[in-house]
Amino acid sequence: MTNWLPKDFWTRNETLVAGVIIAFCVLATLSDPRFFTITTVSDLLRASIVIGILAVGAMLVLVSGGIDVSFTAIAVFAMYASTVFFLAVWPDAPWPLIFVVSILIGSLLGAINGFFIAFLGLPTLIVTLGTLSIFRGFLLTFIGSQRISALPPSMRDFSRGVLARGTTEAGNFYSIPWAALALVFVIVLTWFILKKTMLGRSIYAIGGSVESARRIGINVTWTQFFVYVYVGALAGLAGIIHGSVGRMADPFSLVGLELSVIAAVVLGGARLIGGYGTLTGTLLGVALIVIVQNSLIVVGIPTTWQSVTIGILILLGTGVPAYRAKRAAARAG
């Protein structure tokens, strides 16, 4: 009937999440017409950049059949270590160089995860729970635990860089920072890897069945290793963006965010058992989490209810498809 829609359109998580987002926006606009403005959109977009990049990484790990909870620790470690390094060595370094160093530090920490998981075959949750603690502890103990506001000036320049900024005739302010490009870049790169390379398809295959992947000759070890290094690199990028845009290198920030990020990814349809997850879904999940975290005041829900609301959304977003799948399986059986 509707040939232009994918066959499973109505049963996909993406559809459900998009539906919830639309419903929420309608509700918010009804309760306060000012909600539906360019200001809201640009505010939400800005809030999505760091979470979005982290979520793309988390999605990749879930697709490969693992779970990573250490990426926030990697992000804050890479950000803080590179900031401290450049403040000591070359405070006037250009920001792209600082970014590259942060990404490299992130990759290196990701490689540590990858080594334990891919080469030693240890369970991913155990390894990343361990490294979460180690990375964070190492950072606070040996690198520093002070909030640094006096960042290298080029990082401040980066935070002041905007793609578009202004006020509409109706008086609505908007601002899209350079950092938004980083998110776009990460999405395009990851889309290309996942959809257009055998490496990406191998990641899906491993998530579907590790044993089958080995049997048909996929190099499981190196593919897994790549996943964790890539996630580390994304975390390094997200971290340095977080620090630059927030204009503060805060070693206590980000850690604690990992569960919200994983929640966003799971809402978007990625499954904890591996093999399933899309960029569209992930971004929708991020959008939903960010909207809920940023708009409850408008709808008149007290801030204290925020975590309850997110919890309910996760239960709905993951529970409804799981329940439907179970019913479908029961009918088939």
Binding site: S145, R147, R247
Partner: protein, 329 residues
């Protein structure tokens, strides 16, 4: 290990019982441990400066320690260590007053002089030192905010956490002051919770700006609040249209004070508080009593008021663009 701790505690008890009050008069150096919420952050680094200054001036063995993470249990463990080491006095900035009651109780039983700071409800303490009456400090910030806003318009308030007693008292004091003196100002929204995180404060500030486009003023509580609010204000280019005041430090809010996104901050100097705590500890060891209106000989503590065990100073410092250079922390 347990027995050893008991022995040490016992020894400490015996020692204090014996030497008692004349120790200081004899000129013997006493060891005073200042235990803070968390080691290494600017605030407590500044406090350590005060503790060190006190040690220099008096020749006491005064030093500061703090756990690596802001965790009440780690602080409890650290205090246990200090008791085991046989310190003579403890000056504690509790992470959670309730969690510390038992261990501070044991310390007092062992004859250790206990002083606390920022914990007016603490039971097991000789004196709790507050730099000021929290409501008064909040009112002080509000007075500046109201002046800046010309006594009219909408304003919003931020707290680090809704369960933080101090933050709530500041904000409540501010609101009470506004209601009593500035009827043309209106509070909009609930208390916004920022989880002591600049990023959250930024997000919340944006949300407030969207929901209440006519807002004129914002008051923060956590030291990171005004940084987050300032960022949102700066981004929207609203530096001149809004007034932002709050508790913070020049090192955190400085860049926003410069641009005018934040108009003023208030704080108390932790160095002075550290000195005051140590001074109180010595007084307790010497058996001296603190009385209402007493002069502790430190700025802001010239005429303290006493309410039960709680000592209040008027030790707040207001900082703006012009005098921020005087407080490099």
């Amino acid at each position: 290990m347990k027995t050893k701790t008991k022995l040490l505690a016992g020894a400490a008890l015996a020692a204090t019982a014996f030497v008692g009050t004349q120790a200081v008069a004899d000129g013997h150096s006493k060891s005073i441990a200042t235990v803070v919420k968390i080691a290494g952050i600017q605030w407590f680094n500044r406090m350590e400066e005060g503790v060190n200054k006190f040690a220099e001036e008096t020749g006491m063995n005064a030093f500061q320690v703090g756990p690596a993470q802001a965790d009440p249990q780690q602080q409890v463990a650290l205090i246990e260590d200090m008791i085991a080491q046989g310190v003579d006095a403890l000056a504690v900035v509790p992470m959670s007053p309730e969690a510390l009651e038992p261990v501070l109780g044991r310390a007092m039983e062992a004859g250790i002089a206990v002083i606390t700071h920022e914990a007016a409800a603490q039971q097991n303490t000789a004196y709790d030192l507050e730099a000021f009456v929290n409501e008064d400090f909040g009112a002080n910030l509000m007075e500046q905010l109201a002046t800046c806003m010309g006594g009219e318009g909408e304003y919003a308030v931020f707290v680090g956490s809704l369960t933080s007693q101090t933050h709530n008292q500041w904000v409540d004091g501010a609101i009470a002051h506004q209601e009593a003196n500035y009827p043309n100002m209106t509070l909009v929204g609930d208390k916004n919770e920022t989880f002591d995180d600049a990023e959250q404060a930024y997000t919340k500030a944006q949300e407030v700006l969207r929901a209440f486009p006519n807002i004129k003023g914002m008051q923060g509580s956590a030291s990171t609040d005004v940084a987050g609010i300032g960022r949102a204000i700066e981004e929207r280019g609203m530096e001149d249209d809004t007034c932002v005041f709050g508790t913070s430090l020049p090192s955190i809010a400085g860049q926003y004070l410069e641009t005018g996104a934040v108009d003023g901050i208030g704080f108390w100097d932790p160095a002075v508080a550290g000195q005051a705590m140590n001074k109180l500890a010595v007084m307790v060891m010497n058996g001296e009593e603190v009385t209402d209106g007493m002069d502790l000989g430190l700025p802001g503590y010239e005429s303290v008021s006493l309410d039960g065990k709680v000592i209040y100073g008027q030790a707040w410092v207001n900082v703006n663009k012009d005098n921020m250079g005087d407080y490099p922390f």
